[in-house]
């Protein structure tokens, strides 16, 4: 027998535990044992452990209160080290051999918590205490008050280490999703499964059956739990039914999409490398919510002591786990259902000390030895560390060690509200039921809809499935639902005991009392949403599942409104807590987003390249050589060697779009600001793209490979956006044009070959029958060629570096070998590979605008390209690019800047000021957008925008940089630092 409170095995085996094997576990370091089938909570109760944790605010001793996911009190830390998981509900933690758990929120020891003194300060710690008290001095909040409050109030501790477990996400599709595997859910799943529908049955428990496992009801002539087990076996045998135990449907989204968290390996000592939890996205054509109901307590003095539990939970521990909640159990109820706890316990030989029913009516049962008190109320409890007895409003004292409380049952309406539905109040069961508009496709069955008896649950589940099958056009082969009893469920609304002595607790998780709600009302917090935020009622891990309705009732009492008029706070996903790790799934660390590799990546990595992220891409930034100790040494060498000889750079990341059709030229003419209609076949043209508001947003080159065939390049950053915009223009603006687009960014590897020896080098790569002489293949020429003995390729004579340069493209699979072939062919010229840093230096030296210049505020005029924007054609952005403010003569212009003292270093982001001018917005003349140290010139250079720049060449201004504390005199020069006439690239 594992623990003094374990009930002896009767003839039927006694509950759903496996007594043939015992499991060893530790709580607060103490060695205990339990059985397979136990939760941590049932095993603790079996061992007589009543004190499980300390409360959030007052550090009151707390114990197990429920037997399910609604648990407000028994929060524990599970496991140890980096695996430590705080705020786990002991009531849903499945016991395994070697489990380690600790209580929470105490200092010193759980039994003698040093912070329990907070409880003595309770008169000062009521609702709104923090807001009112810690207001001044203001500077004390961050440094003194908040750390102190955080240390004393709170829940469990995080491990502080990265989560070593893995999590996953998955997608499931079904005809019918059934949420909850109690009587209603099982009846629904059986009806749908037998009809051949694709069914998913999800239940948060590790044993399906819901309340049938916790009750002694009969279904179809046998024990309810046995019927449930048989139903699950039948469902498991069906190919088109998927059972998801340990899976909580946490939210209902649009159009039949549900999120569900499956705890895959939480119940195992070792996950064996498998994911701990899986977050499912379930696409359902129809869904049946059979989520059952949650019992609610009654508030009275000292109702939070360990040993005070919900009556249904005490029954579940006895019937399912064979655990007695105490040696002498009392009942405090306002409804018929609570009496069943007394009957079930008595039948198992547990002493029932008393039944106190607030209803003044005849007793429902004869319980020998029990004091039956009808029309009576419990006003207080006593007992240090746990209930030792209760005192009634009449003053009568009854010794007992477990008080089972039932205030009625609240249907679990949560998921019905996730799409804006508002629950409706039903007087006959004194509870909210689903109301208004349900999420489309959802039906509710059983207790979740307010049908609180087993027979009704079975019938409703069955009927809801039949209706769903009808909607889906699936022929129903459902048969009849099994018969069961219609239990007595009469309830008389009763929320809190006025005669309470001591604090009467509404929300055990947040330490909110009846008095706090009354005070909130007195201070003007009338709306339930305000009440929630002011008192913290219904917050944290349980979201007030056992607390909210009671608090609403107290508020309604204060305002003189009905509960229906008072309404509930909004129910939002998730239904129960979901770890952030589950939302992340595998998308964490390096896998947070996909990584795109260039065709030459492995080649570059093998040569020690340093990589940089460019969007999703990893690009070689520079290629260090032995002896180079600073990145500038590598970059300077790559620049100088390219300009002196030849350099090669992987530029595959540029967006490439294949554009074909009879109207392709006209299409380009409309999407580029400059003209493309007359671009000859075999030629490339630089193109500038505007947004419709006239601002420049991208540029690139487009080559005409044939009469009706073009290939466009975009910047790396905008490849996706440009393609999206082109498709918009093609489909939505000019659907009459015959043009088709496809992205070929990843289909073609492309390399820049730049430098005075680039033609010679390419002469060794391009197959000899292609003439690439300057005459036959001049600047801005393009052609489809073959390289390396027959490999198809495209050759473009374009230059970003300002040198004689080409770009050569081959199908991506040849990219890596072409990189090697190019370097090998240029070995005797001293060919170098260069990275993005050298690319950037050379483009600044040449004065090309790039990302730092195209910032969403840049006009064509600012770039000196106003004449390119054609006025003779319709193109995106041209109408609004003519707005006067964008074309002012004294507007910003892209210029070059060099330090007057060549030893000075420039910095991007500096603002330009006249000599002697104060640094004010009014004196701001522009800004430095890009800088580089030019190895070609031997000093720092910059590009930037300055007012009326071209008219001011030679003028000295200051590059004022408040961030770095610099103020550098700079001379305004042409942006083209090198070869302003462009002789090199035409050579």
């Amino acid at each position: 027998m594992s623990g003094p409170f374990r009930l002896g095995p009767p003839a039927d085996g006694g509950g759903a535990i496996d007594r043939s094997r015992s499991l060893a576990f530790r709580f607060e370091g103490r060695r205990l044992t339990g059985y397979p089938g136990d939760t941590l909570a049932s095993a603790l109760l079996a061992n007589g452990v009543r004190l499980v944790g300390r409360s959030f605010k007052y550090h009151r001793p707390r114990g197990v209160f429920t037997a399910g996911s609604e648990e407000p009190s028994a929060l524990v830390e599970l496991r140890s080290g980096a695996h430590r998981e705080p705020n786990t509900r002991a009531t849903v933690a499945e016991l395994f051999d070697g489990l380690e758990a600790f209580g929470q929120n105490y200092r010193g020891s759980l039994r003698f918590d040093l912070l329990a003194a907070n409880d003595l300060l309770a008169p000062f710690l009521s609702a709104g205490f923090y807001y009112k008290t810690f207001m001044w001095p203001k500077s004390f909040w961050e440094k003194v008050y908040e750390p102190a409050i955080r240390a004393s109030a709170g829940l469990g501790r995080l491990s502080g280490a990265a989560d070593p477990d893995s999590y996953d996400k998955g997608f499931l599709h079904c005809d019918l999703l059934v949420i909850g595997a109690g009587p209603a859910g099982l009846a629904a799943a059986l009806a749908a499964g037998r009809s051949g529908a694709r069914v998913i049955l999800a239940d948060e428990d590790f044993v399906m059956g819901g309340r049938l496992n916790a009750e002694t009801h009969e279904v179809g002539g046998r024990a309810g739990a046995a019927w449930a087990a048989a139903a699950v076996r039948e469902l498991a045998s069906m190919d088109r039914v998927r059972l998801l135990p340990r899976t909580t449907a946490v939210g209902a989204w649009d159009h039949g999409v549900y999120a569900a968290l499956e705890r895959r390996t939480d119940h195992l000592a070792d996950a064996g490398g498998k994911p701990r939890q899986v977050l499912w996205r379930i696409y359902s054509r129809r869904a049946i919510l059979a989520a059952g109901a949650t019992e609610r307590p009654i508030a009275f003095g000292g109702n939070d002591r360990p040993g005070a539990m919900l009556a249904g939970a005490v029954r579940a521990y006895a019937n399912r786990f064979a655990v007695a909640g105490g040696r002498r159990v009392g009942l405090f109820v306002n409804n018929d259902d609570g009496w069943r706890t007394a009957a079930d316990l008595a039948a198992k030989g547990v002493e029932v000390a008393a039944v106190i029913d607030v209803r003044d009516r005849a007793p429902l049962a004869d319980l020998p030895g029990a004091r039956i008190r009808m029309g009576e109320r419990v006003a207080a409890t006593w007992g240090r560390g746990g209930v030792k007895g209760v005192e009634l409003a009449t003053g009568e004292r009854i010794a007992l060690d477990c008080l089972a409380v039932s205030g009625g049952w609240n249907p679990n309406v949560h998921l019905t509200c996730h799409q804006g539905g508002k629950p409706a109040w039903r007087d006959d069961i004194a509870a909210f039921v689903p109301g208004g508009r349900l999420p489309p496709g959802m039906a509710v069955a059983g207790a979740a809809g307010g049908a609180l008896t087993t027979a009704a649950a079975l019938a409703e589940g069955h009927a809801a499935a039949a209706a769903a099958l009808g909607d889906l056009g699936i022929a129903a082969a459902t048969g009849d639902p099994p018969g069961a009893s219609d239990e007595a469920v009469e309830v008389s609304p009763f929320w809190h005991v006025r005669e309470s002595r001591g604090r009467a607790w509404l929300d055990l998780q947040n330490d909110v009392t009846v008095k706090d709600v009354v005070q909130a009302h007195r201070e003007g917090f009338r709306s339930v949403e305000h009440l929630k935020r002011y008192t913290t009622l219904g917050m944290a891990t349980d979201q007030g599942k056992t607390a909210n309705v009671g608090a609403l009732a107290v508020m309604a009492e204060q305002t003189g409104k009905t509960i229906a008029e008072t309404g509930t706070t909004v129910f939002r996903p998730p239904y129960t807590p979901v770890p952030i790790a589950a939302f992340a799934g595998r998308a964490r660390g390096r896998d947070f987003q996909p990584t795109r590799l260039t065709p030459s990546h492995d080649w570059a990595a093998a040569r020690g390249a340093v990589f940089i992220e460019a969007g999703l891409w990893l690009r070689a930034q520079w290629f260090p050589r032995p002896g180079e100790t600073h990145w500038r040494q590598s970059v300077d060498r790559e620049v100088l060697q390219t300009r002196a000889s030849v350099g090669i750079c992987d530029v595959t990341t540029l967006g490439k779009i294949d554009i074909q059709g009879r109207d392709a030229a006209e299409f380009l003419n409309r999407v580029y600001a400059n003209g493309f209609a007359k671009l000859p076949v075999g030629k490339v043209r630089y193109g500038l793209m505007l947004r419709e508001d006239g601002i420049c947003y991208d540029d690139g080159t487009t080559a005409r490979l044939g009469e009706n065939r073009f290939v466009m390049t975009t910047t790396t950053a905008n490849a996706v956006l440009v393609f999206r915009n082109l498709e918009f223009a093609r489909q939505c603006l000019w659907p009459g044009l015959d043009v088709h687009l496809i992205s070929v960014t990843e289909q073609w590897a492309q390399f820049a070959v730049a430098g005075p020896y680039s033609r010679e080098l390419l002469g060794r790569i391009v197959d000899p029958h292609h003439n690439i002489s300057n005459e036959a293949f001049p600047f801005m020429a393009c052609a489809e060629v073959s390289v390396c003995g027959g490999t198809p390729a495209r050759l473009f004579r374009i230059s970003f570096s300002g040198e004689l340069a080409y770009e050569v493209a081959v199908p991506a699979r040849y990219g890596e070998s072409l990189m090697g072939a190019l370097l090998a062919a240029g070995e005797d010229y001293g060919a170098v590979a260069y990275g993005t840093e050298a690319l950037g230096v050379m483009r600044v030296e040449k004065g090309h605008a790039a990302g730092p210049e195209l910032i969403g505020q840049t006009t064509a005029r600012m770039l000196g390209m106003q004449r390119m924007v054609s006025k003779k054609k319709d193109c995106i952005g041209n109408v609004l690019s003519e707005r006067p403010e964008m074309n002012r003569e004294d507007g910003l212009e892209l210029m070059g800047f060099r330090p007057v003292d060549r030893a000075d270093e420039l910095a991007p982001g500096a603002h330009f000021l006249a000599p002697g001018a104060e640094a004010t917005m009014a004196n701001d003349e522009g800004w430095m957008s890009s800088v580089a140290w030019s190895p070609s010139l031997g000093h720092s250079i910059g590009l930037g925008f300055i007012r009326n720049g071209h008219a001011r060449i030679g003028e000295t201004v200051r590059a004022w940089d408040a961030v770095r504390g610099r103020d550098v005199p700079v001379e305004i020069v042409s942006a083209h630092f090198l070869d302003p006439q462009g002789e090199r690239l035409r050579g």
Binding site: W253, D254, C732, G736
Partner: protein, 95 residues
Amino acid sequence: MIIDHPLLGPRDAAEFVILGDASLIDRPDWQAEDAAQQFHDYLHLRDNPAGEHRELWFHEQGDRSWLVVTRNTLTHEVLKVELARDVAVARGRDR
């Protein structure tokens, strides 16, 4: 959210990118006398209805169709899904 693609059937909204009001199809005539004003209105003035709204969605992780989705912004109900190209042609944009 599910969008019932006219060519591909029901697809998850995660496959799409939303642009906004379908009135962006009605690009003004660049040669109109008050073209600047028309383009200003076209670009910047939108209705923001609580209820039925026609929106442009791009099936970026799919077949790259632009769609006009008629959607109730209060209930998220999708009332109609059309190929934007068909809508544009019906509005005479192919001439």
